[in-house]
Symmetry: C2
Subunit: 427 residues, 2 copies
Amino acid sequence: MTQVSEAKKGNLTKEMRAVAEQEGVEEEFVLKRVAEGRIVIPVNRQRQGVQVCGIGAGLRTKVNANIGTSQDEACLEDERRKMQAATEAGADTLMDLSTSGNLREIRRTILAETHLPLGTVPIYQAAVEAAKNKKSIVEMKEEDIFKAIEQQAEEGVDFITLHCGITLETLARLKKEGRVADVVSRGGAFLIAWMIHNGKENPLYKNYDRVLSIAGKYDVTLSLGDGMRPGSIADATDRAQIQELIFLGELAKEARSANVQVIIEGPGHIPLNEVETNVLLEKKICQGAPFYVLGPLVTDVALGYDHIVAAIGGAVAAAAGADFLCYVTPSEHLRLPDVEDVKEGVIATRIAAHAADIAKGIKGARDWDLKISRKRKLREWNEQIALALHPERAKKYRRESNPKTSDVCTMCGEYCALKVVDEFFKT
Amino acid sequence: MTQVSEAKKGNLTKEMRAVAEQEGVEEEFVLKRVAEGRIVIPVNRQRQGVQVCGIGAGLRTKVNANIGTSQDEACLEDERRKMQAATEAGADTLMDLSTSGNLREIRRTILAETHLPLGTVPIYQAAVEAAKNKKSIVEMKEEDIFKAIEQQAEEGVDFITLHCGITLETLARLKKEGRVADVVSRGGAFLIAWMIHNGKENPLYKNYDRVLSIAGKYDVTLSLGDGMRPGSIADATDRAQIQELIFLGELAKEARSANVQVIIEGPGHIPLNEVETNVLLEKKICQGAPFYVLGPLVTDVALGYDHIVAAIGGAVAAAAGADFLCYVTPSEHLRLPDVEDVKEGVIATRIAAHAADIAKGIKGARDWDLKISRKRKLREWNEQIALALHPERAKKYRRESNPKTSDVCTMCGEYCALKVVDEFFKT
């Protein structure tokens, strides 16, 4: 039993009902789109107490925050703090991308303590264990990869990234492309190294049936990874990227036939004028499967400010139809994000998501802006700030910069346009 | 003699030559577009040592930073610091929007100390003096407004915002519109209050010939203000706003006939899906006059983060053809920006401008991204960071988060995708 199998039979699950209620849309609408594969609800059947989150066309754009350890920083308490920061800032989902420390303990702790749907990239575990026990990631066995997938699915992970579209064919396209930045997907890099070293096809592609069987068993949502996502504006929308997308489209179709929920991961570094094209391509080639984008980053030059770069790309992508934005933090390309980076990343991405929801007419989106505008017009400061997307900084600014007259702010003082016009416009 | 009069005669000025050289475009191209009014070069004939800055179609998108005092915070030293912060962060122009303290001293100090083109809003001075000397802004005389314009032009201000398009007709449209946030333009509010109180037409519209005569005398660039810019997503692209734009289009045409350089100011709070329309409308109605936008802000709800909101709107606007972005700082709607806000505002807006320049194919824009991508691919950290749009934060992050292996970062450590693929992809 999966959300898709139930939807195809016309059975409304409690998760579909919850999504309809949260979003203020008809239950039939959710049911139809889950059946079509245009909406997913990532909830592992093993998972308890998860906050249901619908992702797809016609629903509010969702925001994911990546947390997780690395070789240089592997502390469970830090991950707990990042999890809390992401949650408080309003993330809709989390991904644990840990590659160091006790991976299983970290993942189980997060699963136990978060109410948000949790995603992982199981190949990290397989690769990290191979590096530790066999001295190289390329020594991992096909069985190790599937063992990691099965284990994580059994533990209750709600969605998993699998780079199933990196085939020998895709690699041939990549070699002929001659990219500036080759490959920047970590999971993609592991698989490519393995494929080249062992001279074999990607096990996740070759044994995709097995992937589907595990996903179906636990109703884990497949997030088909984009190993070919461009890591430079110069590599955007190239043959390697689109070749992989074509495979992902075929694999998405198979997943639906197998009643498995599936979303497609997307770029990456993409110039602003190609963002809409990328969304339309995904929607066409993958028959409307929810699109989960990282960024897109619309320039390569803003190191330390990539959360802003991604907010630009993410807003435009989501307005064009992308459904799920993976956050990018100010530390992208520089270091593992800390707690503050996590917070700023979630806020910037939520801004992008909401700007897009206004643009694409998502139910209720404009109402929020209208509410806050009315309070602003009345110069009701506390009410205005309380309604803000993340009031903390606004509160601080207001507290620190108190105007002589309390119904204005220190920007204009008594020359506040709203106040001046109010006075004379009433006549 | 103005840039336009010279261009019309086919005379290449040294400013046009400098613009061509800076931008890597043909001198003839600049000359032709200045003659057509599609490029302006705001340099007051009285001004010495200004860094020439071309604004318009085919040139790099420029960024303006507003500084200036308010009733609550009027300290010349603070303004100096903000001027330095904006300059160091890479602003192309400054505007002094002071409304408190010794306005003339502040303006003259900035003019003397900055090499950037400086803009002002002369009606602020007229209104503030009326409020001080005559107890109300509505008591200012028409002559006071023109005196302020003449004085500031004579002092060497390079461009001035004048809200010439707020006519009695525009006000009639505004009243019938029934807006959520009425008027949020400060200069606009002063004029509207004056017009309603005195029952008279806008002197800047009625005596536009006089405006043109002063502007022509000093070659001050007119920045025709948008008093009707929406202050809420709900008011965007409404009849009041477009009515004013129509008047601005007529006034721009007159300015060109009088050989006066002119740009058009634009919104404001605009949903993402209306941004491109607003740019196209301005370009049509004002016959290609450079478009100077404030934001646009694509949502009303992100108090404390409006620099990100404006970066989204600004990138999309500039990609669609807007030429000049007025920065928005994190303190917008909350307080007068401090030095840190100024810096963050300029950086966010420069990101938007550059993302747009890549998208609209501005010469050299992509080269920068390519350069930094190549350094990133090689994992040459210092070179990569030195090339960044604003390296300060990147340097700090790198310094604080040193990886065990120096050729990667703490995000992935030895599992760096670029490094893993490098090793196996060479074969």
